[in-house]
Symmetry: C2
Subunit: 542 residues, 2 copies
Amino acid sequence: MSGNIYAQDLPKTPANFVPLTPLSFLERAADIFPQRIAVVHGALRRNYRDLHARARKLASALEKRGIGEGDTVAVMLANTPPMIECHYGVPMCGAVLNALNTRLDAATVAFILDHGEAKVLITDCEFAPVMKEALALAKTKPVIIDFDDPEFPQSGERLGALDYEALLAGGDETYVRRFPKDEWDAIALNYTSGTTSNPKGVVYHHRGAHLLATDNVLTCSLPDGAVYLWTLPMFHCNGWCFPWTISAVAGTHVCLRAVRARAIHDLIHEHGVTHMCGAPIVMSTIMGLPESEKKPYPKTINFMTAGAPPPEAVLAAMKEQGFNVTHLYGLTEVYGPAVVNVWKDAWNDLPIGEYAALKARQGVRYTMLEGLDVMDPETMTSVPRDGATMGEVMFRGNVVMKGYLKNKVATEDSLAGGWFHSGDLAVIYPDGYIQLKDRSKDIIISGGENISSIEVEDALYKHPAVSSAAVVAKPDEKWGETPCAFVELKPGMKASAEELIDWCARHLARFKLPKHVIFTDLPRTSTGKIQKFKLRDKANQG
Amino acid sequence: MSGNIYAQDLPKTPANFVPLTPLSFLERAADIFPQRIAVVHGALRRNYRDLHARARKLASALEKRGIGEGDTVAVMLANTPPMIECHYGVPMCGAVLNALNTRLDAATVAFILDHGEAKVLITDCEFAPVMKEALALAKTKPVIIDFDDPEFPQSGERLGALDYEALLAGGDETYVRRFPKDEWDAIALNYTSGTTSNPKGVVYHHRGAHLLATDNVLTCSLPDGAVYLWTLPMFHCNGWCFPWTISAVAGTHVCLRAVRARAIHDLIHEHGVTHMCGAPIVMSTIMGLPESEKKPYPKTINFMTAGAPPPEAVLAAMKEQGFNVTHLYGLTEVYGPAVVNVWKDAWNDLPIGEYAALKARQGVRYTMLEGLDVMDPETMTSVPRDGATMGEVMFRGNVVMKGYLKNKVATEDSLAGGWFHSGDLAVIYPDGYIQLKDRSKDIIISGGENISSIEVEDALYKHPAVSSAAVVAKPDEKWGETPCAFVELKPGMKASAEELIDWCARHLARFKLPKHVIFTDLPRTSTGKIQKFKLRDKANQG
């Protein structure tokens, strides 16, 4: 025999090859732990048998309505049981889950519904006002399913003819999944906040979702039966893939409609929460509970945070309260977190200054991320590992997105040269840990939400009195950062700060509004480019 | 736009698709934990930087000798540092690792070398006598590399012109891996003990090795920096993929040339071992240490065992000594263990009889195994989940082998109907846990080694005085099972038990020899088939 003997007569067969998908985690959990509690929400307790049955009913009901492979199902939901069910039921019938940011304005939601070609919309009654307006603006006309949370009934009106429970009632709990046919098939669609006027639709596939969901178990040391509190919105990169991760350890989801200190504290005690995730604002919220209302936790709770590096004071307070904080970093394009500040025991003994400097770093690649580097984007060569030379953060591997939906140019640009170009600027240290230094696209992170400075500037530019506008991040104790606008008015025109903020509110979601407006002559380069770094200095000074 | 919008302009690129391989685990561990101890062996301590460098040197040195994609590198090694290095360095250059069972006889080794077309053989001097004979018998003429363990020098002669360290010295530690090109590419070749006269070569691919290695972390709750003691031979299904698993958690390998109670006990204390695997015989060995020589362990050690269900007395003794025993099950064809007796806390409170009955079950599928079932192999339908109806254990998923090397018929037969047919007979309980009831192919498991009864019978049949022979398993306190031979002599011919055992020793490895030979008329069915179940009853009675 000649040639590669291992390449002969050893083909893939249904016995030894199946597409990777996180959907199999739920099937296994329901098989082995049918009676274990999968979902807690208010007074509701739902076990794995029932969660799986309801996901199958959802898939079956959607399929009966003609929804199938490659169809988009948009959802406007808080962290409630249907949101978890949709993470399974929607892809189970071959469709793609598009979880909408519940804080978006109607125009952006309408854009997303149209761009994603949503065939079905499942919407929580709390968000009926903005959804009603968005549906009026959108060209696409999805089938509308209302969800009025029985645990926390909402006053919002119904927008469709069918309720979520009625939809499920028409489904078959013995539904057998036939999808994905290929692990490269899409599982979810998540829109970026957008650095130009329109957000981009990031497509995840089953393979990547399986791998990142598994990696969360490794990275966050999730034990069998972990109890996970939903302080991170599931609309954020599919809750960093934790809706799927929790099934891999047959853990318990503790739902939470809104991040409130008292509720978090009580739920931790009541359910023995072991893990939770969230932006730094969540930590501040938790720490904001008056001391008199706090009870010590019986065991350490693992808190994974991403975004701005956690401030030393908050870390100290979190530790005292019984939290072990791990710093993660990622982007929508890498399924949420794909970088972790792997902490070494020896660092705990360092002087506080060095300790804090190490804590502020973003870290190293997740196990399932093949490559992480800081590169000169022009030459695509690594910058020196000196902790000083800036470059662009680059990602490579199976937990990098499939691409941007219906945007061939942006997809090709962002994945050029064998790496995903993050747009984030960083340095890399001799030990291989990276640290973000700036965002090349001027994103402001406020309360864990990305805000494009360009989008806010666009809104300001529409005001008749505005000649020029530049928006930068201003450090904020509560929100991490808030947008700070610097404005030049047209000669002879007048406008107050309040007036401009009100004006922006017509075009932007509430969280994107500038908190400060400063009238000034904008500093420019000789070629007329606004020197944002000078404005950042001003904003930092107060 | 029409059709599936997610299937348009979203191709795989080098940025978002790389072949899955466990080799990336070592690269990451060396990146992040270069100074952490990766390998302990005698007085030797080797960190991750050096382990990775040596694996790259090995790959480079092999490549310089013309070894590459699809070439077989056979190794006859104990659980020593080179064995770990080979699990990375060999596949790193595209070659396939064929780890030989160090207990095999020369004829079988020769068959394997020829069948696997070994281009290189790395062999420990301890095994020089059998290897010398095997090489004389084999048609293939591999490049021979000797390894004389500097920590435990052997008296065996050198068979080749090159020593292992000299080979590595010629390699380049900056070698950049270009393999696998496809995750379906072979990574390892492991021969079954064979149920017919010749063993079959089970081929593993990089995808399956990556997934099972990851799954071990989940199933065995391996923490970052786990300390793993090598009481399971790495030639057994690549040590159940643990050579790769340990890198995924940047843990420490504690090597062990031979399973001895005193050494195990001392290494556990010295290195803070957290996890180990082995056949039940290993537990008996550990427990065999005199009480006066035992010191209590500072923390619980996780012991994963497979093969015969652990006897209640051994479990109790293990628990008292500080071990937590988990019962696994699998076969060479599923990368080692792919079934785990997931233990539920509530079961600890059951009466001892029920407790023991539950402990004896093989369990449920690994997270990365897509399907496990007990079926009627004729109709390929599931047997009722009644704990009584027997059927064949079937496996399906990405941790089922690529197939049998150069054996299209056996590959197709074993993977027919979308499932891998294990040949093991079992029942399935209402809760989905399976329990083995018999081995349809009459395998005897002795000291963790599979012995084909047919192979032993074949040896007996070759003796001029033997008319008929049937070999069954006889329960054995030390070995679990040993072969027990029932023999009919030809009329007028004579042979003693000793004579027949000596005869078998000419054809079989030592561990396969029958421990008992009983001369008797063999019970037969009306069609002349030997009724082995009656012989098993006799063997059980003593």
